[in-house]
Each structure stands twice: as C-alpha cells, then as structure tokens.
C-alpha cells in the first residue's frame, strides 16, 4: 500500500467534506432558533401597530369588540380564554389521573392495553373532529339546559369547556399513565409492607412519585386548551361578550379564523394584535409553567 502522511491530499479532501457537513448540520440545528426569532420579530412587527393605534389599555381592557365601529377591546376574549382553560384543566387533570390509575393499576394488563390503544387513538384525532362531535352531541344537550332555564339557545362557554376537557383528557391520561407505569414497583411494595391498603399505596406513594410526568401532561394540556381554535369555534357561539357559562363566548383564538376572510385595514391589524397577545400569553405560560413546576417537582 502506498505510504500516506497524516496530511496527504486524501485526508485534506476528507476534512473539507467534514467541515462542510459540520456547517450543514449547524445550519439545520440553527433552523429552529431562527424560526423562533423570526416568529417573535414578525409577531411584533405585524401585531404592534394595531395595538399602538388602538391604545394598549383600550385594546387589552376594552370590553367591546365591534370592528365596524372601530371598537377593538379584547378583554372579554382574554377572560373567556382564561376561564375556559382553567376550568378545563381543573376537571381534566384529576379525572385524567383517576383514569390513568384505573388503567395502570386496577384492571388486568390485557384489557388496559386495549383501552390504552383507544385513548391514544383519541389523542391523535384532529381537533375539528372534536368540534363536529361537540356540535352534534354536546350543543343539543346544552340547548335543553338553556331552554329549561329560560335562556336563549346558543353555543356557549360551557360547551367550549366541555369540548376542551374531552380534547385534553386523552393527552393527560396517556402521559400520566406512562408516568405512573414508569414508577418502580418498589414504592408501592414499601408502602404495602408498612400496612397501607392498595389504594393508599397508589395515591400516596406511586402517584406522587410520578408527579413530574403528570405535570408534563398538564403543561401539554394547558397549551392545547389555550391554543385551540377550530374545535372551540364550532361550539362556543362566538359572541365577544363578557364570559358567562351559558352564554355565547369567544375565546382569544377564535377571532382570527372567524374574521380573517373579510377583515381589512385596522381590523386585520387588530387580528394580528390578537395574535401578538396570544403569542405573549403562550410564551409566558410555557416559560412560567416549565420553571415553576419543574422547580416544585425537584
């Protein structure tokens, strides 16, 4: 074989390829960072002018959204979004944990793996399908409730909350179940050996040990609930008024797709403004939830 020095031509061409690949991979890696920066910049560029023209205070705290008369207050939407997300999590989290315990601890493995398949299936269903189901199955029930209370029938905040609960439940169940299953059996055994019942062992030893996973599921759930647009639009009635459970409500996400097609000028800009508010909301929630909850878990 030909003698080769460590710096012969072949190695040089090799190291050129190496360098090029390094740069290509670096660019790929940076793509996500660039996207986030671009997104932040463009959300601000497109959203800020409207907020400036309308006035930060009037925009955020104004109670009337009436584009035709140039009234752009989004307080009702912000409140509706907060209430809807909060209520949905309040119901879905405990319910999800109970079902996760049921699936992982209380029924035979065979049955639970079949049920888990169904839950995973539901977690992957498009949100518009949930909207459709809500419109067909839940809204009529709410109509009856509204009629019996003497209220006008319409899509309402309660329907939106129910749809959000149903939407985030599979995610929370699935993530919590995986977390509970990952807890070593030894915690439960130790608890049983101290004279606890099975149920006490599950809820005082196993579930607390799974809390970081459950928290991750909750963060996912909150994100999905606050960001959901289409399913909610299909059941909520979409009137931008202050939130009441049995009255029509419009969430922060809803105005954009609803009014997108026919908006122009300041109206369109105000929609961008809503986008910016939502973006800030999401960023703050993600960062705060991740930091606070991760800290609480450790």
């Amino acid at each position: 074989m030909e003698q080769m020095g460590l710096t012969t031509g072949r190695n040089k061409s090799k190291s050129t390829v190496e360098r090029i690949m390094n740069i290509i991979f670096l660019i790929c890696g940076l793509a996500a960072v660039i996207c986030v920066i671009c997104m932040t910049v463009y959300m601000i560029i497109s959203g800020w002018p409207a907020i400036q023209k309308i006035g930060v205070f009037e925009f955020l705290f104004g109670q009337v959204w009436d584009p035709e008369n140039s009234e752009f207050g989004i307080a009702p939407m912000i409140l509706s979004s907060i209430i809807a997300t909060f209520s949905a999590i309040l119901v879905a989290l405990p319910l999800g944990i109970l079902v996760a315990v049921f699936l992982s601890k209380l029924i035979p493995g065979r049955l639970s793996s079949i049920l888990r398949t169904l839950i995973d299936l539901l977690a992957g269903i498009p949100s518009v399908v949930y909207g459709l189901l809500g419109a067909i199955l839940i809204v009529p029930l709410i109509f009856e409730l509204q009629t019996s209370l003497g209220l006008p029938t319409s899509g309402c905040l309660l329907s939106a909350i129910i749809i959000l609960i149903i939407m985030i439940l599979p995610t929370i169940i699935s993530v919590s179940e995986t977390a509970i299953r990952a807890v070593p059996q030894q915690y439960e055994d130790a608890s049983l050996a101290l004279g606890s019942t099975k149920l006490q062992s599950i809820f005082r030893a196993t579930v607390p040990a799974a809390k970081s996973g459950i928290v991750a599921g909750m963060v996912l759930g909150v994100g999905r609930a606050i960001g959901e647009a289409m399913a909610v639009i299909m059941v909520a009635g979409n009137a931008a008024i202050m939130p009441e459970f049995l009255k029509p409500a419009r969430l922060l996400t809803a105005s954009i797709p609803i009014e997108w097609a026919y908006s122009s000028g300041l109206h369109r800009e105000a929609l961008y403004g809503i986008g910016l508010v939502l973006f800030i909301f999401i960023m703050v929630i993600n960062i705060v939830l991740n930091m606070v909850l991760k800290k609480a878990v450790n």
């Binding site: 055994d189 130790a190 049983l192 050996a193 101290l194 004279g195 606890s196 099975k198 005082r204």
Partner: protein, 258 residues
C-alpha cells in the same frame, strides 16, 4: 424480661406451607418455628424459596398474580392465612426491609411518618416523637436530624437502607423481615447494619434472608437452610455451621454449590 423466657417463646409457627406460582411449586411443605427476640437467618442458593418464604410471613406474595398458598402461618397463635384477616394490621405488626434501599421520593421526615400517618396518627407531637425514636432505633438519627426536610434520595445507599429500617420501625412492629438488606451495600454500610441488627433483636423478632453465609454466622441465633423450595434443616446457628446434619447443607456451607 427474662433471657430464658424470651428465648423459648415461639413468635411465628409455620405449618405445612406450600406455595405455587402458577405451575411452579415454589415452597414445599415448609414447617418452621421462629423464636421471639431472636435473629433467624434464612440461607440457600438463589431461587431456593427463602425470599418467597419470608414474604409469606407478611403476605406480600398476595400482590403477585397467580400465587396460591396452602398451609398455615401463625403469628402469636393467630392464623395469618385465616378468615377475615386484615393484611394492613398484619403488616403493621410484621415490618419489612427490602433488598435494595427503597425510600419514597419525599423528605426524610415524610418517609418515617408515612406508616404512622397511614395508621391514623395525626398529632404533630406524636409524629415527631415517633420520628426521633425510629431514627435513633435505626442508628441514623445523628446523621439526619438536621436535615429532616431534605429528600431521602439525597442520602447514601447505606443511609437509605437504615432510613428504610427506621421507616419500618416507625409503625412499631413486633417482627422485622429483612430481605437481603445488605446485598446492595458497601462493606462499611454492611457492618453498620449488622451491628444495628444485633441491637434491634432486643426489641424485635428478626427474620433475615441472606446469601452471605459469613453474615448468617455472624448475626443470627437460628439458621434455616432452603433448597429448591424445601426447608432442608434448621437449628441453632452454631450447630448448622459446625455440624450440619444433612449432606446438602454441608455441601452448601462448605461452598460446593450455590
């Protein structure tokens, strides 16, 4: 209490005990008496049934699917496998320490109070008292008294195991079952635990599973040798190690198999 009296009292009486895991006959007609305030060592090669036997004493085998048990285990003349037994009361009386340290992922204080709280102790003063007494009993009080609120997982392996012993003591059991409690520990921690066991037998009846024959010889009063699910022989520890009666025991002790 008088030394002779305590030596002669039978704490646990096992009669014709058989255990099946599905089709596997894991314990075959075991008859064994465990003396009060003694250390009884269960020895034998892996898979001989010594751990399985240990777990029949506090019914921890109940949690495994497909286990069938016949025969009787008497704890102070009460049949552990009798009708209407509340296993939570049984396990309160018969504490257990596992092979690898398994403290809960919570604070040291919460680990110790876990059992007492479960049995209805709620008053802070009582709990504090139990914590101190249990930790002192497990010879770990001095090491952790200033960091009760710290996570139990921050302790070293040996400390974790002593914490687990303290946790078992906190429910104030009569009997303490130990399933190879030092097999996951370093020699120094092992010595500490062995010293602790010698101390604990004053107040508790101890049954310990070990695969380490030197350990059995060092710490136990009685020794029972298991092989393939059978109890081959049980005697005073000196007797077993100096003049075993069964050829198989001798083979095992002299290291010819196992």
């Amino acid at each position: 209490m008088n030394e002779v009296e305590t030596q002669n009292k039978v704490k646990i009486h096992t009669k014709n005990l058989d255990l099946f895991y599905g089709d596997v006959h894991a314990l075959k007609d075991v008859n064994l008496d465990i003396q009060s305030h003694n250390v009884t060592a269960l020895i034998g090669p892996s898979g001989c049934g010594k751990s399985t036997y240990l777990k029949t004493l506090n019914r921890m085998n109940d949690t495994i699917d497909g286990v069938k048990i016949t025969g009787d285990v008497f704890l102070d003349n009460e049949n552990v496998y009798g009708k209407g037994v509340d296993v939570t009361i049984l396990r309160k009386k018969v504490g257990m320490v596992f092979q690898s340290p398994n403290p809960f992922p919570m604070s040291i204080y919460d680990n110790i109070t876990y059992g007492p709280r479960m049995h209805g102790v709620k008053k802070r003063i009582e709990l504090d008292e139990i914590v101190e007494k249990s930790l002192k009993g497990a010879a770990i009080w001095d090491e952790v008294k200033d960091r009760m609120k710290k996570s139990a997982l921050s302790l070293s392996g040996g400390q974790q195991q002593r914490l687990c012993i303290a946790r078992a003591l906190a429910t104030q059991p009569d009997v303490l079952l130990m399933d190879e409690p030092t097999s996951a520990l370093d020699p120094i921690s092992t010595t500490k635990i062995e010293e602790l066991i010698a101390e604990l037998k004053k107040n508790y009846s101890i049954v310990i599973v070990t695969h380490n024959m030197q350990q059995a010889a060092r710490i136990s009063d009685d020794t029972a040798f298991f092989l393939l699910g059978e109890l081959i022989e049980n005697h005073k520890t000196e007797t077993i190690f100096s003049s075993p009666q069964d050829k198989r025991t001798e083979d095992y002790i002299t290291g010819r198999f196992g």
